[in-house]
Symmetry: C2
Subunit: 440 residues, 2 copies
């Protein structure tokens, strides 16, 4: 069948979801998954679990285990890039340098380490497997996919699961999920629910009613452990402002005024202060760590059941179904990140948007979305697009002045000097040496 290369396969939960989905997709049996990571220990664990999983399921799926990207890309039909360069540890170091300068929870500089890496992988693909699809799931998906589709000849599609936030809304509204349909286009992590139907009828009035009669009670009941962005006061506030509900990670972000300090975060995102507060982020890392510990434990115990750890139920990740549609010409709709090409009005063709797309033997075809609410365009979409363009302008010109301007655009910067000193401090971090050299 096909060869699927997972770059960053040490992301164990992610990889095992793909293995599981593949096992549950008969039309792809006989395929090979190439697990590639630079972390040998994690790679061993994932490889061990994956092989045992396939054995327990008694299906034919082959595996390659390699620390060589080149080897993994060889003969690949699909390359899934899931790698976070430097892992969460470097993310924390970067955040801390911002905090040192008074930027609560850090300051963004465009995640160039990721972009440089993405381009590296795609350039390798151009040489080794030029006809393969690159399925980009590592962030930043928006900047990354726009960069790759502009700069390389590789077929690129970005995938995320944030749009399922719409189902979280349905759940909180106590709706039968089987009767819900929705559409939430935009840019990755900046998507907005333009359509929400229940039994074929507009269900936005149900949201309005919930806000009117139940939201306050729902928020009061939030216990100290509660941490939910999708129906947070921030999300409702954005909906009131823009006329479309923010979906998934979109609600987690929003204006700076939801995030200026922990107290403010708590007010808008509940007792933990949302996903990106100190507590929220640590909880996420803890859970991820526990999940890894579980996996290592199972890996160390050859008699343990892997299918017990990963019950054979399809994940909601889109990767394997998408591959199945492309390989076996099964026409189905997905939420994809592809160049706009007219799908959303007033967005240039060469900007990657997150829209519904039809995947089949013909490839991936974006579905025409049309106009988004004007307010949304003016206050969220265009500013977000502009930031993406700043980041890519920095990438293509290697000019530090672009970085400086991005720091100046941060609402917490008070002077040019502050921005200059911060920039030098960020670029002198040992983990940022590659970026500093790039911008010399």
């Amino acid at each position: 069948m096909v060869k699927i290369s997972i770059i960053g396969a040490g992301s164990a939960v992610f990889s095992m979801n793909l293995v599981r989905d593949l096992c549950l997709t008969e039309s792809l049996h006989g395929s090979t998954i190439s697990l590639m990571d630079i972390n040998k220990e994690r790679l061993e664990v994932v490889h061990d679990l994956a092989r045992r999983y396939v054995a327990e399921m008694n299906v034919e799926v082959g595996f390659q285990k390699t620390m060589s990207r080149e080897a993994s890309l060889q003969d690949a039909d699909f390359v899934v890039n899931a790698a976070l360069v430097g892992g969460h540890q470097n993310q924390d170091i970067r955040r801390n340098i911002g905090e040192k300068h008074g930027y609560y929870r850090g300051v963004g500089l465009g995640r160039y380490h990721q972009l440089l890496f993405f381009l590296d992988v795609a350039r390798d693909m151009e040489k080794i497997c030029p006809d393969a699809w690159l399925i980009q799931c590592a962030n930043p998906v928006f900047e990354g996919c726009t960069l790759l589709t502009r700069e390389t000849k590789i077929k690129v599609v970005g995938l995320c699961h944030g749009h399922y936030g719409a189902l979280k809304i349905a759940e909180i509204l106590d709706l039968d999920l089987g009767k819900v349909t929705f559409q939430a286009p935009g840019f990755n992590h900046c998507i907005w629910m333009t359509h929400f139907l229940y039994e074929g009828k507009d269900a936005y009035p149900l949201i309005d009613e919930w806000i009117e009669t139940k939201a306050e009670k729902y928020w009061e009941k939030w216990n100290p452990e509660f941490n939910e962005n999708q129906m947070s006061p921030a999300a409702v506030d954005m909906y009131k402002m823009f006329g479309a509900f923010p979906i998934g990670d979109t609600a987690r972000d929003g204006g700076w005024w939801y995030h200026s300090d922990l107290e403010t975060k708590k007010r808008w995102y509940g007792p933990l202060g949302g996903f990106d507060s100190e507590a929220g982020w640590n909880r996420y890392l803890d859970r991820l760590g526990k999940r890894m510990d579980d996996m290592f434990r199972v890996a160390r115990d050859p008699s343990a059941s892997v299918t017990e750890q990963f019950p054979p139920i399809k994940s909601r990740e889109q990767h394997i179904p998408l591959i199945d549609s492309l390989v076996n010409d099964k026409e189905r709709s997905f939420q994809v990140n592809v160049p706009n090409n007219g799908a959303i009005h007033d967005i240039p063709d060469n900007v990657v948007v997150e829209i519904p797309g039809i995947a089949s033997g013909r490839g991936i075809q974006g579905v025409h979305v049309g106009s988004l609410p004007k307010r949304l365009m003016l206050h969220m979409m265009i500013p977000r697009m502009l930031r993406m363009e700043w980041i890519l302008e920095g990438f293509s010109t290697r000019d530090k002045k672009v970085l400086l301007h991005m720091l100046l655009e941060d609402h917490r910067t008070h002077s040019l000097e502050q921005a200059k000193i911060l920039l030098e401090d960020i670029l002198s971090l040992p983990i940022n040496r590659g970026i500093a050299e790039y911008f010399e």
Copy 2:
């Protein structure tokens, strides 16, 4: 010949410049200027001076003096809108309310009093003189002209004299002005010198040399009275960042980081802190006041010579030459504010841009400019356009949330509450009653 209605004719210097230019333009002799203002005293003075000027020059120009806009528009061929609703006094009141909230030199809210007034005038024109040209010189020209060309059927052109800043550069470089040509397109008050030629050759290297060898000395010599934006450190900094020199009021604005406090302003704009500092602005008002005093003095003394006060030399205002070109089919180039219609790449057609335009018996035809430097588009033009769109979105939806968002976008806003309180305070100003009612 033609009837030219000046709305806000009490702006005495402005009106007298037009009278003078008209007297010096033989092909328009026989025309009538309708002086319209709601300030009776100023109107009397301007009318008296204008009539005496014409008599002293011994040319045939008729005058109408009226406090009725309708009467002034009757049979008008050209309507010059120069009015500042509430004058500089209201401008100061608006600035002070911002300062009270900690916004140094005030905070902008879109100047809706002006926009409402502009639309009123244009609506009247649609009824009374639908074929007349509206020459818009009152600010905001960018928002105003875009609004009027979108919302009305009136022929609108915006004029400003800021682009002559390019000649100021030539002067400081000690060049023979007669041998200088330039092009400085953009949006009004956000224009950038894409071409600067001396004797037909690129003269940008002369600017670079000046920056390298003479700028520091030039700035050191700035005496305490010196106040000049065009070749200020801020302007040079913008040029270095964007690759094109900011012209006229463009240099006066720029990023927030040039303006955060008086000390910062002084560093970037010289000892007075630039045109918009306390001292800079007061000096401007003082000079304007003295000029008015002079005019009142001449008006009170029937034996005084008006031509002595206003020597019969053409001003550099474009109004009369433009009218002459349109009426008498004299094809000439002007710096005009008209809908883009493809002149500057990647700007929508229905956004008014400031570009070279050819005026003749055919009307006004924009000259194709092409692409501006990408950095300029990303960091200055698109953000400025976005702000214009926010302002017009507020205008068309009458939704206070748009105003709130504009305050949140101000770099000095620290919390949602601060913005909300500031907004309510601004809207409860007696002089803002009309705006407050509009946004109910």
